[in-house]
């Protein structure tokens, strides 16, 4: 799908630029943007690495395990169909890794959780209610420190790059809760 979107965006740009008479600017902008992509990436690298480093310290200190123990009762309530402990553990680790913004760890745990859930799936090839709920939880990003975003904000001259955090947390929790409600509701209607 990305193939069509990417090529489509560029072709659309040139087609529109014929009508707006900005074909020269559009072609120049391609080069300028390529240059600014490098500048942006290099300048956000520092802040991004700093937070990822700090989150690794938190992970090594066992804060993830602590958090996943705290969340266990909630997860057991939400995922009614999950019977085995391995499945529950994979779900918990995926969610805590997401919260800590360790994407590299979250995805493998997430895929493991899907695999485990599929073992308890009676109808192969069809998603279970728990799977739907789990994927919805993964698409609503609850993240303590969105490090790339903070890096971009400070790179473009924000005076207070962190000031948005309370709003980010509030909105992501609201989105996750409503996402869960929607998943539960749709699941009920299908029965």
């Amino acid at each position: 799908m990305m193939n069509y979107i990417w090529a489509g965006l560029i072709i659309l740009s040139f087609v529109v630029s014929i009508f707006t008479g900005k074909i020269g600017e559009t072609a120049t902008e391609a080069m300028n943007s390529a240059k600014s992509a490098v500048e942006t990436s290099i300048s956000i690298l520092g802040v991004m690495c700093f937070w990822m480093g700090l989150m690794r310290v938190a992970e090594k200190a066992g804060i993830l395990e602590k958090l996943s123990t705290c969340m266990k009762p909630v997860i057991s309530k939400l995922f009614k169909g999950v019977k085995r402990d391995e499945t529950r553990q994979a779900i918990l680790m995926n969610i805590t890794a997401n919260i800590f913004g360790i994407g590299n760890a979250a995805t493998p745990f997430g895929l493991k959780a899907m695999e485990e859930m599929d073992k308890e799936n009676g109808r192969k090839g069809v998603a279970t209610n728990d799977m739907c709920l789990f994927v919805v939880l993964n698409t609503a990003s609850i993240q303590l420190i969105p490090s790339t975003l903070l890096a971009l904000r400070s790179n473009y001259g924000s005076q207070t790059p962190y000031s948005i955090l309370p709003a980010v947390w509030a909105v992501s929790v609201a989105a996750a809760v409503l996402g869960i409600c929607a998943a539960k509701l749709f699941a009920k209607n299908r029965k």
Partner: protein
Amino acid sequence: MAIIGILCVPAMIVGILAYALYRKVKVYDAFMEGAREGMVTLFKIFPALLGLIVSVGMLRASGAFEWIVRLLNPFTSMLGFPSELIPLMLMRPISGSGAMAVITDIFQNYSPDSFVGKCASVMMGSTETTFYTIAIYYGSIGITKIRHTAKAALVADFVGMIGAVVAVHLILQ
């Protein structure tokens, strides 16, 4: 309210480091390991980022962004939604690097501390690359009938996007 965000960050850094020292973690080694991973991540996403920053820049330069925004403006203004955020709203569920390219564009044209900049930040931080996540997770175990997943995930996205504007109005202005 914004002060909480500013204060909680130092508190979090001190808290994590102190607790890790107490748990006898080699903090500096762990930090370097994580930071190195940050570099790897950035290098991995760089080609995608480059491709999409170029295409978004071209869309802006050609005037296509203005067309799209003007086209959707009647719907968004009805909801009180800033039309400058439409490109981000369209890109966010599809591609993470694409959304990054769009938000870079927004930060360049408005400041990150402007109303639009703040809304874009909250939107970016509280939503995910929905379609990509769905594709990876279900693709890995060969599930093709995803039932109500996309519907429920889009509910969460919609809440995140509208909620971002509401939250910036309520607690960050």
